[in-house]
Amino acid sequence: MGNHSSLLLREDEIATIQQETGFTPNQIERLYSRFTSLDKGDNGFLCREDFHRIPELAINPLGDRIVNAFFCESGSEDQLNFRQFMKVLAHFRPVKKDKENKLNSREGKLRFAFKMYDTDNDEQISKDELLGVLQMMVGDNISEEQLVSIAERTIVEADKDGDQMISFQEFCAALERTDVEQKMSIRFLN
C-alpha cells in the first residue's frame, strides 16, 4: 500500500537534477514518486510499455511521438532512467524571466516540438515526415491525397531556403506568433 519503491532518491542526485533542470527538491521528489509508480517492474527505469499503460496517453494521437521523444533523450531503445525523464519534463517548466534554463527556454520548447515532426532526427522535417505525423493526428478520417496537399502547402509556407524541407530555424520562424511559452508549459505545484 502506498509507495512500494524501496529506492529512495539520494541528496546528491536531487542536487544534480536541480542543477540541470531547475526543478525544486519538492517537485523532484513528487515526480520521482510518479516515476516509481509508473515503473511497474520496480526496475529503476521505465520502458515504453510503462508509458503505454497510461490510458490518457494511449488514446493521444501523438502518444507514440511523445514517448519517442523521451527515449531519444535516453539514447537507449527501451530504458529511461529518472534523470533522463526529468530532463525531458524540464522542457515544460514555465519560463521565469530571471531563471531561464537551457531546457525550458523558448528555444528549448521549440526544439521539443520540432522533435515531434522530425521522425528520423536529421534536423529537417521532410514532406514524408510531416505527412506521417498528419496521418497520426487524423487517422482514417481524411484521405491521403488531401493530407499530401496539406503537407505540401505547409512546407511551401514555411520553407525559406527552397530545399523542400523545414529546418529548425524555419520552424521557429513559422511559430513566431504562437505563444509557445504558454502552450508548452505545465504549472508544476511545489
Binding site: 510518479r34 496517453l57 494511449a58 501523438l62 511523445i66
Partner: protein, 473 residues
C-alpha cells in the same frame, strides 16, 4: 436434505452443544448496541491520537522550514523566493504528503472523443464548418501538452492503487519518508504496533473463524425450514445478525444514512472498493447476491448462503453468455418475494476516490434501481483491495491488523429509466448520483483498464475529433 443427514446433524449438534452455546453468547455480546457504542468510542479515541501525531509532525516541519528559510535568506539574498516556498508548504490544511504534482487547468482527453475541461464534458453540437481552419504546424502542441500532463499525472492509473493519505495514521505502510520526529511519537507508534499485531489481530482472526462457523450453522438451520414467508423473515433477521458478528472481525463502525430509501426488492447498485462491501451493506439489510462461484474462503460463504435463500451464483463458463445472465436476473427481479439483488456495475475494485464506468447490463433489465454510495474513511484503514498486488489472504491480514473499518453508507432514492433513455445513459445518470453523494470523482473510464490496455477505438475518436476541425480542399 435426507433423513440420514438430519440425524447426523442432530448428533453433531448434541456433541458440540456447549461449544455452540459459548459461541452463541459471544455473538450476542458482540452484536448488541453496547458493543457498537464501544467501537465508536474506540474510533473517536483513535482520531484524537492521530490528530496529536499530525500536530507533532507539523510543528517539527515548521521548525525545519524556519531554519531553511534563514539559510536561504542568507545564501541567495533572494528573500522573495524562499518566502514563496515556505508559504506553499504551510498552506492551510497542511498536507504532509502532497497529493498533486501539477495544476491541471487544461484539456483532458476522454475515451468518448471529447477533449473537454475537467469539469464537464459538453457534447459539441455546433456546425463544424464555421470552426474549421487550415492546418498549421503549431496544431500538434495541444496534443503534446495533453500527453505530457497525462505522463505527469493521469486520472486513471491512480485509481488502481491505494489512495495517498494527507496525514499519517501511525501505520508504517502509509508513510513514505518516516523521519525521526520525536521520542513520544515513536513510542506511540510502537505501542500501536504492539496493540495491532498482538492484541487486535489474533482476536480478530478468532472472531472471523467463529463468525464463519456461526454463519454456516445458522444458514444450514434456516435451510431446513419450508419455503415461505416465515423462512424469508427468519433469513433476513438471521443473516443480518450473522454479518454484524462478522463485521466485528474488522472492528467495523458503519454509519447508515437515509434509511427511508432502503431497498426491499429490485436491483441495488453500489460502488465497489473491496469484497468486504458486501458485508458492510449486509449489516443493515439483507440482499440476494450475484457473482461467480469461487473456491476457498468465499466459496464456503457462498454455499452457506445458498442453502437459506435464493442467490445467483454462476459457473465461470456461464458468465460469458450474457443472455443467460440477463434472463436469470430478470426472473429474480420480477419475483416480488425475492430479496433485492446487490450488483456492483463497475465490475472490479476501485480505490474509493472515484467511480468508474458502470456496465450497462444491470440497467437493461428494466426494473427500479436503488443506488447506494459507500465511502470508507481512509484515516483508519485503506479498504481498497489491489488484487494485482495482494492475494485475498494478504488483504485480509492487512485489514485485520489495521485500526478499524470506518465507513459511511448512503441509501439514495430509487431511480427509474426514462422512456427515451438508453441503458448507457441511465447507467451514467445513476453513477453521477452515487459519485456526488459519496464525494467521489465521476469518471467515464472503464474500470477494466486495471488489467487491459486502452482500446483502439478511443484513439480513433480523438483522431476523428481533430480531423473535424481541419479544413480540407
Amino acid at each position: 436434505m435426507g433423513l440420514e443427514n438430519l440425524i447426523l446433524l442432530l448428533v453433531l449438534g448434541v456433541i458440540f452443544l456447549p461449544f455452540i452455546l459459548a459461541i452463541g453468547c459471544l455473538v450476542l455480546v458482540m452484536t448488541c448496541p453496547w458493543s457498537r457504542n464501544f467501537r465508536s468510542g474506540y474510533v473517536n479515541l483513535l482520531l484524537k491520537i492521530f490528530q496529536y501525531g499530525t500536530g507533532r509532525i507539523e510543528s517539527a516541519e515548521q521548525k525545519k522550514l524556519e531554519t531553511i528559510k534563514e539559510k536561504n535568506g542568507i545564501a541567495n539574498g533572494n528573500i522573495a523566493e524562499s518566502v514563496e516556498q515556505v508559504e506553499d508548504n504551510l498552506s492551510p490544511g497542511h498536507a504532509i504528503i502532497k497529493s498533486s504534482a501539477m495544476s491541471k487547468e487544461d484539456l483532458v482527453l476522454l475515451p468518448n472523443g471529447n477533449s473537454s475541461p475537467k469539469t464537464a464534458s459538453i457534447p459539441r453540437n455546433r456546425s463544424f464548418n464555421s470552426l474549421q481552419r487550415d492546418f498549421i504546424l503549431s496544431d500538434c502542441l495541444d496534443f503534446v501538452h495533453a500527453g505530457m500532463e497525462a505522463i505527469i499525472e493521469d486520472e486513471v492509473t491512480q485509481r488502481f492503487v491505494a489512495e495517498e493519505l494527507k496525514s499519517w495514521n501511525l501505520l508504517t505502510r502509509t508513510n513514505r519518508h518516516y523521519e525521526f520526529i520525536s521520542i513520544r511519537l515513536t513510542v506511540t507508534w510502537i505501542i500501536g504496533f504492539f496493540i495491532r499485531y498482538f492484541i487486535l489481530l489474533p482476536s480478530r482472526i478468532t472472531i472471523c473463524f467463529l463468525a464463519v462457523i456461526w454463519l454456516t450453522l445458522c444458514t444450514a438451520l434456516v435451510g431446513f425450514l419450508n419455503e415461505g414467508a416465515m423462512k424469508r423473515a427468519v433469513y433476513e433477521k438471521v443473516s443480518i445478525w450473522c454479518f454484524n458478528f462478522l463485521s466485528c472481525a474488522l472492528s467495523a463502525v458503519i454509519t447508515f444514512h437515509n434509511k427511508e430509501n432502503i431497498p426491499k426488492s429490485g436491483i441495488c447498485v453500489a460502488n465497489h472498493t473491496t469484497p468486504v462491501d458486501v458485508m458492510v451493506l449486509h449489516c443493515d439489510n439483507s440482499y440476494a447476491l450475484i457473482g461467480q462461484r469461487h473456491g476457498g474462503f468465499l466459496g464456503i460463504i457462498q454455499r452457506a448462503l445458498a442453502r437459506a435463500s435464493a442467490h445467483i451464483w454462476f459457473e465461470r463458463s456461464e458468465v460469458k453468455d450474457r443472455e443467460t445472465v440477463a434472463k436469470r436476473l430478470k426472473e429474480h427481479v420480477d419475483d416480488p418475494d425475492k430479496l433485492p439483488i446487490l450488483i456492483f456495475p463497475e465490475g472490479t475494485c476501485i480505490n474509493n476516490t472515484s467511480v468508474m464506468q458502470f456496465k450497462k447490463g444491470s440497467f437493461e433489465v428494466g426494473s427500479v434501481v436503488y443506488p447506494v454510495a459507500i465511502k470508507y474513511d481512509a484515516r483508519f484503514t485503506d479498504a481498497f483491495w489491489n488484487s494485482s498486488r495482494h492475494s485475498m489472504i494478504q488483504y485480509l491480514y492487512m485489514m485485520m491488523s489495521s485500526w478499524a473499518l470506518v465507513c459511511d453508507v448512503w441509501y439514495l432514492p430509487p431511480m427509474h429509466r426514462r422512456a427515451e433513455e438508453s441503458a448507457i445513459d441511465f447507467a451514467n445518470r445513476v453513477k453521477a448520483v452515487i459519485a456526488k453523494q459519496g464525494g467521489l470523482v465521476d469518471l467515464s473510464w472503464d474500470g477494466a483498464l486495471k488489467r487491459m490496455n486502452a482500446k483502439k477505438e478511443w484513439k480513433q475518436k480523438q483522431q476523428e475529433e481533430f480531423s473535424k476541425r481541419l479544413k480540407v480542399e
